[in-house]
């Protein structure tokens, strides 16, 4: 694995925090964490039928999509004062989106911890037409906008929370190797 890839520690709450906000792109947080501290708030992604929200209960607040969750995150973090510990758990794209929102909201990198969980999928940036392709599980993917078959380079941008995709058969059109499933 190339050294530019982030390395993630296993999830653990930081006891020195005054308060804890855990956001996850999964439908449930790590088991039992709601009960581990008094001042903990957990955001998840879950819906109850098409477009129907699940009501918040017991410190857990479900959103209908990661987009809805991230849209509210900046506002939520903007109201915080020092002492909050912020955790993001989920796909690499989701946790870096959350990280970038946290930095804009004024958190220090040391107050944020990121943990990758769920399926090994990547967000891919099409170098040619700049479209973002979500949830890609293999290293060759077709761009839905410009139709280029993209090879996913092992080159990750934290700013874009995406991997770089470059046309795989640019030299000889149609010369496309078999796709490989991501193992990291």
């Amino acid at each position: 694995m190339s050294k530019n890839r982030p390395v993630y520690e296993p999830f653990a709450l930081e006891p020195s925090g005054r308060a804890h906000l855990v956001v996850t792109s999964l439908d449930a947080p790590p088991e039992g964490i709601e009960d581990s501290f008094d001042n903990i708030e957990v955001w998840t992604v879950k819906h109850n039928g098409p477009g129907v929200p699940v009501l918040a209960a017991g410190g857990v607040r479900p959103f209908r999509s990661t987009t809805e969750l991230l849209a509210q995150l900046g506002h939520r973090l903007g109201r915080e004062t020092a002492g909050l510990r912020f955790y993001a758990i989920g796909s690499e794209a989701f946790i870096w989106d959350a990280y970038n929102i946290g930095i804009v909201a004024g958190l220090h990198p040391s107050e944020i911890s990121l943990h990758r969980a769920g399926p090994l999928v990547r967000r891919v940036y099409c170098s040619h037409c700049r479209t973002m392709i979500e949830g890609v599980p293999v290293n060759i993917v077709s761009c839905p906008s410009c139709e280029a078959a993209l090879f996913v380079r092992d080159h990750f941008s934290r700013r874009l929370a995406a991997f770089m995709g470059v046309k795989v058969d640019a030299e000889v059109p149609g010369e496309i190797p078999a796709a490989e499933v991501f193992t990291s």
Partner: protein, 351 residues
């Protein structure tokens, strides 16, 4: 410094680019030995040294006019090839000052700079530019200061901000790159933007290079050479336009490899900037067709050995496998087994 400029030549479509005999002999051949491996091969960037391209702080050569016209075309098609993050404004003015002062000093017949406090007067004769402006006042220039001056100097540039004991690529002018994207890399830390390079991470090259650069001092620039190969003398070998230049690589044959294939050498120089404490990175590219390179005996022999024995992962990263054997075969007849002196000089006076 005496310098005659060619009229406009092209780096795309009909590719009228060629090197004069003088340009061939001053080419910065990158291989001092018969084999190649990554290393932290940096040395002080002082005028003079193993190659004539070191004679100026920023080398201008006979291709200047066509080179700058090609940059303008690329920027017209994709303005995001030049980006500078907002906190780098001081570094932009640092860059403009460093480039204007050195060009006027090294090439007085082509460039001149007159200062009256903050009222500056810049003349660029080859590009027919006569600009009066106020230093520090962006609205007195037709572009931002970094874009304004790097539209007039050969080579790509990037701006590195230094913070948290790291370097961040927070700006650049990148129109003649070896397959990397400023739009993707902007804002990245040193190890992040070097992520795709094979082998060098494991051997600690980047850790050592970063430590070296963090301690760089103002007025003590450093340099190194890097290289790759390019099908046709194309400057814009960007990932964005790979669908345009990729087919040109596949069109290389044993018959046309000597004419179309080019060795592409980067003179990389780094400068600590005085006000911003940022680092300016200049990636000054030189192209030479293999048939031009073959006119220098020592280089032809050495090219044969270096390309033949290149580590497969380096060859792959540089995009060579498709035509590597053609290049080896092209130079093989030149290699009579002679022992070559170390060093990059041509060791001949004429072509």
């Amino acid at each position: 410094m005496k310098l005659s400029l060619k009229p406009q030549e092209t780096f795309r479509d009909d590719y009228t680019f060629s090197n004069s005999d003088e340009a061939i002999l001053r080419f910065p051949f990158p291989f001092p030995e018969d084999s190649y491996m990554y290393s932290v091969n940096m040395e002080p960037h002082v005028r003079g040294g193993a190659s004539p391209v070191y004679n100026a702080m920023f080398d201008i050569d006979e291709h200047y006019v066509g080179d700058m016209a090609d940059r303008a075309i690329t920027l017209d098609q994709d303005p995001l090839r030049c980006q500078v993050l907002p906190h780098m404004e001081t570094a932009e003015w640092d860059t403009l000052e460093l480039l204007m002062e050195n060009l006027a000093n090294d090439y007085p017949e082509h460039f001149s700079l007159t200062k009256n406090d903050d009222e500056w007067h810049w003349i660029n004769r080859p590009l027919d530019i006569d600009q009066k402006f106020t230093f520090g006042r962006e609205e007195t220039l037709p572009f931002g200061p970094f874009e304004y001056i790097t539209r007039q100097v050969q080579g790509d540039f990037s701006l590195q901000d230094q913070r948290d004991n790291n370097l961040y690529m927070d700006g650049g002018m990148v129109t003649s790159q070896a397959d990397w994207s400023l739009n993707f890399d902007v804002g990245m830390s040193f190890h992040e933007w070097h992520g795709p390079v094979p082998l060098a991470h494991e051997s600690g090259v980047f850790d050592r290079a970063l430590q070296y650069l963090l301690r760089m001092q103002c007025g003590k620039p450093v340099r190194r050479l890097n290289w790759t190969m390019t099908a046709n003398p194309r400057l814009d070998t960007s990932p964005e336009n790979y669908p345009l230049w990729g087919p040109e690589k596949a069109a290389i044959t044993p018959e046309n490899v000597g004419h179309r294939m080019c060795l592409r050498v980067e003179l990389q120089t780094l400068y600590r900037l005085p006000r911003s404490n940022a680092i300016l990175f200049s990636i000054r590219g030189y192209l030479i067709r293999l048939e031009e390179l073959a006119k220098v005996k020592k280089w032809a022999v050495r090219m044969h050995r270096v390309i033949r024995d290149l580590h497969p992962r380096i060859a792959e990263y540089k995009g060579l496998p498709r035509y590597r054997q053609y290049v080896v075969d092209y130079f093989a007849p030149h290699d009579d087994g002679r022992v070559l002196n170390a060093g990059i000089g041509p060791e001949q006076d004429g072509i």
